[in-house]
Amino acid sequence: MNTNTSFLLNGHAVDLAGADPTQSLLRWLKSRQQHGTKEGCGDGDCGACTVAMIETDAAGRSHYRAVNSCLLPMGALPGREIVTVEGLAEGERLHPAQQMMIDGAGSQCGYCTPGFVMSLFVGTHDGDLSDHCIEGNLCRCTGYRPIRDAAKRLAALPIIEDRFGATLQQPRTALSSARVGDFHNPTTVAEALALKQQHHDAIWIAGATDLGVNLSRGQTVAPSFIALDRIAELQRIEIGDDAARIGAGVSLSRIEHELAGQFPLLDDMLPWFAAKQIKNRATFGGSLGSASPIGDLAPILLALGGDVHLAGPNGLRDLPIDGYFLDYRKTQRHPDELIVAVTLPKPHDLVTASYKIAKRQTDDISIVAASYAIRLDGERRVQHVRLAYGGIAVIPKRAVSTEALLLGQVLGDALVERARAALVEEFTPLSDHRADAGYRRALAGNLFVKFVAEKLA
């Protein structure tokens, strides 16, 4: 494993020897007096610290990805290339993303501005300058209208051939194994499992969108880390006739794009799952691994009846998602096992949809998430039904009683009303700062009503 490590910051090599691997890139930049990148929250929720990171796909094509530098541990950086706001302008010549922000009065206090500029910069390269490009950036001054307009004007510009585009064209080899202190970056599953045998108290870390928050807040997470974000085996998406096998390390952004149109449940959910900076780093495996009761992907897997594939010291295990979640943040996965992939059966003739309700509809954590899969025969008799929820119990859960009530019955108004009433009673959710239990219960029922009205009318 390479211990002589460095990364490229705005084209300049930076030696990582002696760096604290758990320190965020943001704090590291600040310690180097590079203050262009701002800290608005340190939790990955405001985007003021957005930087661009180059990612090379399996086909060898490189892309800029907007990421929150507050959630990016220095330990994950060996061999990576980062562009910050300081790297955009050449002397007094501004990048178009910067110029458009000026021309349209896109900055007021200026503190969120570098983050927006970096999101727009990435947007000019990946071709998405819609609202989704800047949804992960909070601005408290402008009301966003001038920034949205800056994005539109940027989108209307002819494609720029500049040094940033040229950088992407350079050939790149896959990232090699590396270590920064107690932060290990293996490149194969076997290497990762072997490291885990050597360091039993190490924690798996994927995109660091969850653990990165703890690290950013200065909490002690684990004595050592095994990062999973440069293991090629975990980065594959295999699409078959009956199912898609998604590598545990595939980012949600890639899932959103590469599986678009094949799984309505994903198409409904991923645009609202989180902001782009998060989706560029968060993974399916990480979402299941953290086993959050409000993870928005588990209900999809539950609704389609998918499988979770684990690798451990004793080999591979394939577990059905049903029964995978045991208790609050407890699953059947043994601590030294690794999620390597999930299999998502194709819906074929099922009618499916996902719903997510949150206090704010963009970039928020669910109050209730629901994923539904149902098949009716010609007489509207329910032949197959799975109703899965997040946010209503200590684990993501199916409404099995209501499913039983529905199965074999003709789906008419009376049955929908009975199902709604049953769903309200099926769970005993908590009241918390997001919502009261009563609202969660009501949503459990009403989202099914909405599903029937929208998809099965």
Partner: protein
């Protein structure tokens, strides 16, 4: 006058080169601070043991109340705010000590090791509990007119209601930050992210027990303020100044987001009760309104916030007989403070609630009832006088309102929406138009003054200092425009300096939408003084009369001989050679103001800003999720000094108001700990909340103003915030369409959950 087309710091913003308080070149030996936070909302401090912490790596000092050489207080009105409490903890998370260490991580680690023993005391955690316990700051305030008892008794109809309005975190992107250093001469040099450098200076002097002339406070720029740094920058400045004073080394603090949200006060939650008497046409005869602001643990700015609510509860409506009583609940929560609108928004939400209740009671269209109750000029009997005795100066609102109705196609859309609602059972649309009338000036008369200091150097370059602070609102951009226009020179000739108390002393907070009005006039006065000194010098060269000298386009000439001109810098040089001062102060006080806080009467506002908004929303009956489909805003900024700045204030204020009334919800646990202390749990609007169809227009006045505001502009910082009330009322309109209720109760903020609950109630009615 050439109007600015960019923010003066725009290039700095987009390149990341603009420097904020915590981003300066660090001096040798810079220390960092971290607070020791109380785990109780109310408790007695028994003992603070710093021994272990003080011995930890990097720790230089652990500061407690005992270390304060001067007065342990930063309360701006009442001296009830210790920098660190000596005995009683007053809110959850309060800083009872500050650890000073070589770096922030060391300070944070040591803060955990400070042992504090507490005796927990029963906390007061909300307005209702405080009302029940009769726990208030200060005596009640009252504003009244006419005879409310007989007014109510004689009205054909009466109704009453109550409303709880939630608070709002400022969520400025740059959290509270301050650096302090005691220089070689013993002067305390502060760089603070503060809206009120003079008060920060004075508070630090008090705390250190030194005269104000030994403290200089500078503000470079803020990453947002919104009122949250009007007084609340002071305790953090005091803590770092104390650290620098005690250790002899420079010190800094910049709060992490969760700390900032836990430690600082917010927009006041309000509880309102009202009784209103009205006739068949919805014309209001009388109202009795009881407002209780949740002040939090200390007084801070609560009295003027409450008073502004009390004098804006009428919004745009004439109420002949009215009694408004206001109280400030004393609770064990962070001390609530100034926030854009300063109580005005809460008062106006109550006013609009009343009008809506009246309209629905009578089954009349709400927009008609609003219009009927407007203040209007030139009617007999008079209906243009507010309940505090001031006429609605230059009342343009009825005209503005009519223009917006037409421009937004209100009537046709009303019909379309009603048709849509008849055919959709689970989705309803709502439409509302609401007015804004907002008084401009500080309620407290003495704050309505400002100063400026302008230097011209012999090369013809100009340095501009004024007392206002830049928090993103574009004040510096406007001041540059004022100076350039007054002196007839290009903006590129002028350099604006960081706000500093050694340049302009005894300034007022940059607040109350008055930054441009006050400082603009002071800048203009300073520039005019300089021109008056230069004019005779130029006149002598040009062979004319000083009164005929014109300064335009960086040239100086006689009015009727513009072809013979001198370069501005040449006149500067000649003035210097003639031994005439090229440095001048400017000073301004707003004319004609008076206010008797005891009687609640006077002429507190120089003028009013007017605006109106139309919002259209769609609400899902199954989930309560709403979407703002379109917003039309028409706002009166007078003759704009910088249109792009003013539009930015209007759009930004509206969206901030939208957040307050929809997604921004503060929740505490039963121990008084703030649960929503991060953007993961506290949801300010994103771009996704802003309608694609967002139309903003500046109102053109129909007649010249009777006041003399700087270049006939109008203050614009706060008033547009309240345009967002149209979104709340549009949501209410949509909720109403789910049933046939004569009362539509809607919580504030209207989260999806709150909207859903309102729909359930309407459906059940």
């Amino acid at each position: 006058m050439s109007k600015p087309t960019t923010h003066e710091s725009a290039v700095g913003h987009v390149t990341g080169r603009a420097v904020y308080a915590d981003e300066q070149h660090p001096p040798q030996g810079l220390l960092s601070l971290y607070p020791v936070q109380a785990p109780h909302a109310h408790a007695r401090i028994l003992v603070i043991d710093t021994t272990t912490a003080a011995a930890m790596p990097g720790v230089v000092a652990v500061l407690t109340a005992a270390d304060i050489p001067g007065v342990n207080n930063t309360g701006p009105i009442v001296h009830d705010e210790p920098v660190m409490p000596a005995d009683i903890v007053s809110f959850h998370g309060q800083a009872v000590a500050w650890v000073v260490a070589e770096d922030e991580a060391q300070a944070a680690a040591a803060a955990k090791a400070v042992r504090v023993d507490y005796e927990a005391l029963p906390p007061m955690l909300d307005v209702q509990a405080a009302i029940a316990a009769n726990a208030f700051h200060l005596p009640p305030a009252k504003v009244e007119r006419g005879d409310v008892v007989s007014g109510l008794a004689n009205a054909p109809h009466r109704l009453h209601g109550e409303l709880m309005i939630g608070g709002q975190d400022h969520f400025y992107l740059e959290t509270q930050a301050c650096w302090a250093q005691v220089d070689s001469e013993g002067t305390v040099q502060l760089t603070s992210s503060t809206q009120h450098p003079s008060e920060t200076q004075h508070m630090v002097a008090h705390v250190l027990g030194i005269p104000s002339n030994r403290v200089v406070c500078r503000c470079l720029r803020m990453g947002g303020g919104f009122g949250g740094k009007e007084t609340q920058a002071n305790p953090f400045a005091a803590a770092v100044a104390l650290a620098a004073w005690k250790t002899g080394r420079p010190a800094r603090v910049k709060l992490h987001r969760a700390l900032d949200m836990q430690l600082t006060g917010k927009r006041h939650p309000f509880f309102a009760r009202f009784e209103v008497g009205f006739d068949d046409d919805g014309l209001i005869h009388a109202a009795r309104i009881d407002l209780v602001a949740d002040g939090g643990w200390s007084v801070d700015l609560s009295p003027p916030v409450l008073m502004r609510a009390m004098v804006h509860v009428d919004n745009a409506y004439f109420i002949p007989h009215i009694e408004v009583i206001g109280r400030i609940a004393k609770t064990n929560l962070a001390s609530n403070t100034a926030f854009r609108g300063f109580g005005g928004p809460q008062g106006m939400v109550v006013g609009e609630e009343i009008v809506d209740r009246v309209a629905r009671f009578l089954g009349l269209p709400v927009d008609q009832v609003r219009e009927r109750n407007f203040y209007r000029e030139g009617e007999t009997p008079d209906r243009n006088q507010t309940h505090y005795g001031q006429p609605v100066v230059d009342n343009e609102l009825p005209t503005l309102w009519a223009q917006l109705r037409a421009r937004s196609d209100y009537d046709a859309r009303r019909a379309d929406i009603d048709a849509f609602n008849r055919t959709h059972a689970q989705t309803k649309r709502g439409l509302a138009i609401t007015p804004v009338k907002f008084g401009i000036s500080f309620n407290k008369t003495e704050y309505n003054q400002a100063g400026a200091l302008v230097h011209i150097y012999t090369d013809g370059s100009v340095q501009l200092n004024h007392g206002g602070t830049e928090m993103g609102q574009g004040l510096h951009t406007k001041m540059l425009a004022v100076a350039a226009k007054t002196m007839g020179v290009s903006v590129s000739r002028i350099r604006i300096m960081p706000t500093s108390t050694d340049k302009v002393p005894n300034t007022s907070a940059t607040a109350a939408s008055s930054g441009s009005d006050l400082n603009g006039q002071a800048v203009k006065a300073a520039c005019e003084t300089l021109l008056a000194r230069m004019a005779p010098v130029a006149a002598a060269s040009l062979g004319g009369d000083a009164n005929e000298v014109m300064f335009e386009n960086d040239r100086v000439f006689l009015r009727d001989r513009p072809d013979v001109s001198l370069a501005f810098e040449d006149v500067v040089r000649s003035t210097y050679n003639a031994r005439i001062s090229l440095s001048a102060t400017g000073y301004y006080r707003t004319p004609g103001l008076s206010w008797d806080p005891k009687l609640g009467r006077g002429h507190p506002f120089y003028y009013y800003a007017f605006g109106a908004a139309v919002c259209e929303v769609e609400v899902c009956g199954l989930t309560g999720v709403q979407r703002l489909l379109r917003a039309d805003l028409l706002h009166d900024v007078g003759d704009s000094i910088a249109e792009l700045i003013d539009r930015g204030q209007i759009e930004g204020g509206f969206v901030q108001g939208l957040g307050w009334l929809t997604s921004e919800e503060l929740r505490w646990n039963t121990q008084g700990r703030l649960l929503t202390d991060a953007p993961s749990t506290y949801k300010i609007p994103t771009v996704g909340d802003v309608p694609e169809d967002f139309r903003v227009d500046l109102y053109r006045r129909t007649k010249p103003p009777s006041t003399n505001v700087i270049f006939h502009s109008k203050g614009v910082g706060e008033p547009p915030f309240m345009l967002a009330i149209a979104a709340r009322e549009a949501i209410r309109d949509a909720v109403a369409a789910f049933g046939d209720a004569r009362v539509v109760e809607l919580a504030a903020p209207s989260t999806p959950e709150a909207i859903y609950n309102a729909i359930v109630k309407v459906r059940g009615a």
